[in-house]
């Protein structure tokens, strides 16, 4: 009988192989560029990322202006090339979601679904695809049918109908996970086509339990004590209520993603993090880069440049140097 005790042990973070010099949260152009430089500087580097299509670059279809890459190339392909480059220097990438951080401990602790990792320095590169607002009923029914974690809550919906709302790797993975429990899974997709890795799209479309509703917006979560349905509207069609008892929401927006920090770092009114010229936040050894900052143009090449500045500063921080050392060639 497997009781999953390994999950608990991995969560303790005491294993020696979970100790890194630098843990980078977010595997877009910013985080991956940091990884290329830190791994090449012989720093033990881990990148934790939710998936190739989780971020702004990953869902961009055609890029022709990234220097040195004439394109057109998809964002996911460009990120994949960067990752391969970082991996060739020894960086480790894992697909996971960070659920908590302790930035005050020494070393710092990064808690993810598959385990807890320790790091001398942490680089935040989670981008700005956080949601700016919720739909009507979403907050009211949180924990009473509305969920953001199918792995945590799927077992409450055995033999019931549920809806998954979103269009990325995470949404499709969670919808597939829910087919283990639910009688039927509606996948509500705001755009006209699915945007996720090919094998996930294939599995979703092949699943007898999943009904994909393309070009459909979530308007409201409705219920009494518990969720009883979701009101949705197909593009150009009339609103309808789907009778479900669970609504799993994985929608994205344009706000910096900082919820996992649990207020350990101050944010501006817009939700952005503040850094110094070396990309260091108010907490020594904690750096923030890319679209988490509101100070510049949101372009992949600029995020990548942020990542390099942070990498040099991480090396300086870890080795106690007084000056930046930029001789990695």
């Amino acid at each position: 009988m497997d009781l999953g005790l390994d999950l608990g042990l991995s969560n303790l973070g005491a294993a020696a192989d979970n100790a890194y010099d630098v843990v980078i949260i977010g595997g877009g152009p910013a985080g991956t560029s940091t990884a290329i430089y830190t791994a090449r500087a012989d720093l033990r580097t881990l990148v934790i990322d939710k998936g190739l299509t989780a971020g702004a670059l990953g869902i961009t279809t055609k890029i022709s202006n990234y220097p040195g890459v004439p394109g057109p190339i998809s964002g996911a392909e460009l990120v994949e090339i960067m990752r391969q480059q970082a991996e060739s220097f020894g960086a480790t990438f894992i697909t996971d979601k960070v659920v908590g951080l302790d930035l005050s401990s020494d070393p710092k602790m990064v808690m993810a679904g598959t385990g807890t990792f320790t790091a001398k320095a942490v680089v935040l590169a989670t981008g700005s695809m956080g949601r700016t607002s919720s739909v009507k009923g979403e907050e009211e029914f949180l924990g009473r049918g509305v969920s953001y974690c199918a792995t945590c809550d799927g077992a409450f919906f055995r033999d019931q109908d549920v809806a998954v709302i979103g269009n990325n790797d995470e949404a499709l993975e969670e919808a597939l996970f829910l087919t283990k429990f639910a009688a039927k899974v509606y996948l509500i997709v705001p755009t006209p086509e699915l945007k996720a890795r090919e094998f996930l799209v294939h599995e979703i479309t092949e699943s007898a339990k999943v009904e994909v509703m393309l070009g459909t917006r979530l308007k409201e979560v409705i219920g009494e004590t518990l969720v009883t349905g979701v009101r949705v509207q197909p593009r150009g069609g009339a609103e309808q209520v789907l009778p479900v008892s669970g609504a799993f929401v994985y929608l994205q927006g344009g706000k910096p993603i900082t919820d996992y920090l649990m207020e350990q770092l101050p944010t501006s009114v817009e939700g952005c993090l503040a850094v110094d010229a070396e990309m260091q936040t108010a907490v020594p050894g904690v750096f923030a880069i890319g679209d988490l900052l509101c100070t510049h143009i949101k372009q992949a090449v600029i995020a990548a440049a942020d990542g390099v500045i942070a990498a040099v500063a991480v090396d300086k921080y870890i080795h106690g140097r007084k000056k930046l050392q930029i001789d990695w060639n």
């Binding site: 999953g4 969560n11 924990g143 974690c149 649990m262």
Partner: protein, 217 residues
């Protein structure tokens, strides 16, 4: 056959080498009509075998009613984690249901905490707990597959360490459907405080403090 793999046992032996004070695990079980009683007892016994600082006592819930009442146990499987030895102390730390999956980390972390005698909470939270005048009962509903849940469980248990008036229960939601229904639990972690106030998710201690103040206002 052991539930814990040999390499995991070795890892935990090393962790437990840092234990300062003795820790006692008390398991309440029953041979029949308890889905995970056997496995819960096995987990406690296997963990206790890894350190001479950890002891375990096992009681039959039906045949040892007076002991169950002494520890305020009303459902099984139940595990109490308390300070052992000459200065034994029950902090009010409870696990109802099997501490498997991610919750196995909670039981290990609790052992380390109880042995150290230090909750690790902030001065502000400690000060609030030391001035409490009424009882606080925190029930943290979890599932074993929830990576966020141990944070909420450990916070409730840290709080229990700070005051004899605070009890912190982990409740495995799927094993106790009547409680999940009673408290409308369809998402975890969900912390129910004194039957009236609830908190969704793994909240930082300062946010939880706000909810605790609301519950005793």
């Amino acid at each position: 056959m052991a539930l814990l793999k040999e390499q995991d046992q070795q890892h935990l032996r090393q962790e437990f080498a840092a234990l300062e004070n003795p820790v006692k695990l008390i398991v309440f079980t029953q041979p029949f009509e308890c889905q995970y009683c056997t496995e819960t007892r096995m987990i406690a016994e296997e963990v206790a075998a890894l350190s001479d600082k950890i002891s375990v006592e096992v009681y039959d819930f039906d045949n040892h009613r007076e002991i169950a009442e002494q520890y305020n146990i009303d459902k099984i499987p139940a595990t109490v984690i308390m300070r052992g030895g000459d200065e034994a102390k029950d902090y009010g730390i409870r696990f109802y249901g099997i501490p498997s999956g991610y919750e196995f980390s909670s039981i290990i972390e609790d052992i380390m905490l109880v042995s150290s005698g230090d909750s690790g909470l902030s001065d502000e939270v400690r000060a609030w707990a030391s001035n409490l005048t009424e009882e606080v009962h925190m029930q943290v509903f979890v599932t074993p597959t929830c990576p966020y849940c141990p944070q909420a469980v450990i916070l409730a248990h840290r709080l229990a360490m700070e005051s004899d008036l605070i009890r912190g229960d982990m409740v495995e939601a799927i094993e106790f459907p009547h409680l999940s229904n009673k408290y409308h639990v369809q998402g975890v972690p969900r912390t129910v405080i004194n039957e009236t106030v609830h908190m969704e998710g793994a909240a930082p201690e300062i946010m939880m403090l706000g909810k605790l103040k609301e519950a005793v206002a």
